[in-house]
Amino acid sequence: MTSIAHHQSSYRRMKQRAYEIMDGTVPDKYSHRVEISIALLVVANVVAIILESVPQIHDRFTAEFHAFDVFSVMVFSVEFMVRVWSYGEKYLDEKGSQWEGRKEYLFSFYGIVDFVSTVPFYLQLFFPGADLRILRMFRLLRIFKLSRYNSAFDDMVAAIKSEKDSFSSAIFLLFISCLLFSSLIYIIEGHDQPAVFPSIPAAMHWFVITIVAGWGNVDPVTYFGTVLVILTQILSIALAAILTAVVATAYTAQVERRQALYEMEVRAVLADGVVTEEEQAKLKMMQAKLGMSDDQVQAIIHQMEEEKHISDAKKTKAWEEKNTPQLQSQS
């Protein structure tokens, strides 16, 4: 009886450990090593895919590329299976079901990437007639595995989400101006340059190129057309500026939020006046998770030390004022 219980708990401990290592929630050297080796393998894979597309290299190293691909697929399959298995541990204490954490992983962005970038290889084994180009495209998805270890991708998505109003209005502006300007250029220049502006959709193609590149490869013939082209070119600068500004504002909001979060943590740590080693490690982890630079952290700590200094001075002063009469009466 005890041996079964002991057996179960050691199995669970192993699973717990595997979850910690794979998820990287507790930063130690093993999870760090796993992270680095997966990242290196992904980079090697992407380099291999790029080199493979050069015919001369492909012809000389066909066998090597194939062996490497088999090896990587094996590693990634093991990674996927270990993840599915160990993520059962995630909500085991709170919700009781293994599948809660597994489901969350399988249907998360990374779960889907892990699956889709690995499984097509097996499909090829069973259905050898499949189009190789599509398979290669799926293999390229492996590069998204890297975004798990870098918050930039998540940051960008979060920034776009939080500023979706501004983004949508910028896109609305683009949409309206696309309709108006391409219709106008079609009406004005359509008769003089029927080859370039035969219809409004064709004019829309010109508009998009002008907005992106600043010049749409077409010179206007009429005077109204010239004015319209110049207006479009100025609009292209304005739209780029608006999009840049929206992104900048979103990033600023995100940085502010992180600083406030970190400051709260530091305050909680400093509340009892002592900083234990455990708390220090926690702060370090938090800094890494929020992606804050040492400078930002230094600034926050410095500001808090100043505040503490001031409030200490106030307290001492209040204490002195309260106690002076007593001291005087005693003497």
Binding site: S166, I176, L179, I200, W215, T249, E256, R257
Partner: protein, 303 residues
């Protein structure tokens, strides 16, 4: 009876959240406008026009009927905006008719009738006016109005940017005219021709024409670089306009937050107020979260 009907209709058309119907009206108008604009675009392709000519004609007729009904009901119901003491029913109506949205509504619809009475009118002008219907949608995109407000508040900076752009264009165009006017007379023969080249070069970095002379090459490169600077200046102005606008909203919101947190806890009423304010100032969740945390931090620093 008629008075209440008028008020209800006005509230629905103005998009008041009191009625559910106002959302349906908004949706219907948006759909009709989008269908109309797609029709104008598709109608311009000769192959599609040949096949679906009658369908597009029919569609145009019914859309005009729809927009006419919308315009008339707007004019009629807006009579309820002000009562007798405040200027009577025509004050609200005239206000609408001469507002930007009223003018858009009018000019996007009425030309069709002109065409009926004067069949010889130029069709191209009619088509341009039909496209104005897309602007009806900007009534429902308040974020766009925000954008224009932000730009409006920085109009002085924009004015100086336009001034700089004008100077850069004229100087590089004149220099190019002197440098290349003889070598490529058909492209740089007059300063207006060179001005077009200068604007293309400033906006896209490389022009539509390659310079031949050494001096022309140097001027072209400098002009391209000037374009980079112009883009940076405009980006900076827009970004600061945005930041200023957000800062203004945040200051107002933070004052409210402080009063909420001053008694140390947040009641449900207060939470509702904050939610409404957030929607009103159109602050993102992230900004609000950051502000709440910083206000909490500050209040905990005081204790």
């Amino acid at each position: 009876m008629i008075a209440t009907l008028k008020t209800t209709l006005m509230e629905i058309l103005e998009g008041s959240p009191k009625h559910r119907a106002s959302r349906y009206v908004e949706l219907a108008i948006t759909v009709v406008v989008l269908v109309n604009c797609s029709a104008v675009v598709l109608d311009s392709v000769p192959e599609i026009h040949a096949v679906y000519k009658d369908f597009f004609h029919e569609l145009e007729f019914w859309s005009v009927m729809f927009f006419t009904a919308e315009y008339i009901s707007r004019v009629w119901s807006l009579g309820a905006k002000y009562d007798h003491e405040n200027g009577g029913s025509w004050k609200g109506r005239l206000q609408y008719i001469f507002s930007p949205f009223g003018l858009i509504d009018f000019f996007a619809t009425m030309p069709h009738y002109l065409h009926v009475f004067f069949p010889t009118l130029d069709l191209r002008i009619l088509r341009v006016l039909r496209l104005l219907r897309i602007l009806k949608l900007s009534r429902y995109n308040t974020a766009l109005q925000d954008l224009f407000l932000a730009i409006h508040s920085e109009r002085k900076a924009f004015g100086s940017a336009v001034f700089l752009l004008t100077i850069a264009t004229i100087v590089s165009a004149s220099l190019m005219y002197f440098a290349e006017g003889h070598a490529q007379p058909d492209l740089f023969g007059t300063i207006p021709h060179s001005i077009y080249w200068a604007i293309v070069t400033i906006t896209s970095g490389s022009g539509n024409v390659v310079a031949i002379t050494k001096a022309g090459e140097a001027i072209a490169l400098t002009t391209g670089f000037l374009g980079l600077c112009m883009a940076a200046i405009v980006t900076g102005i827009v970004a600061s306009a945005f930041t200023n606008q957000v800062a203004r909203k945040k200051a107002a919101f933070e004052a409210q937050l402080r009063t909420v947190f001053s008694d140390g806890y947040m009641s449900e009423d207060e939470q509702d107020t904050l939610k409404r304010l957030q929607a009103h100032y159109r602050l993102s969740d992230m900004q609000v979260e950051a502000m709440m945390l910083s206000v909490k931090n500050k209040s905990s620093a005081k204790h």
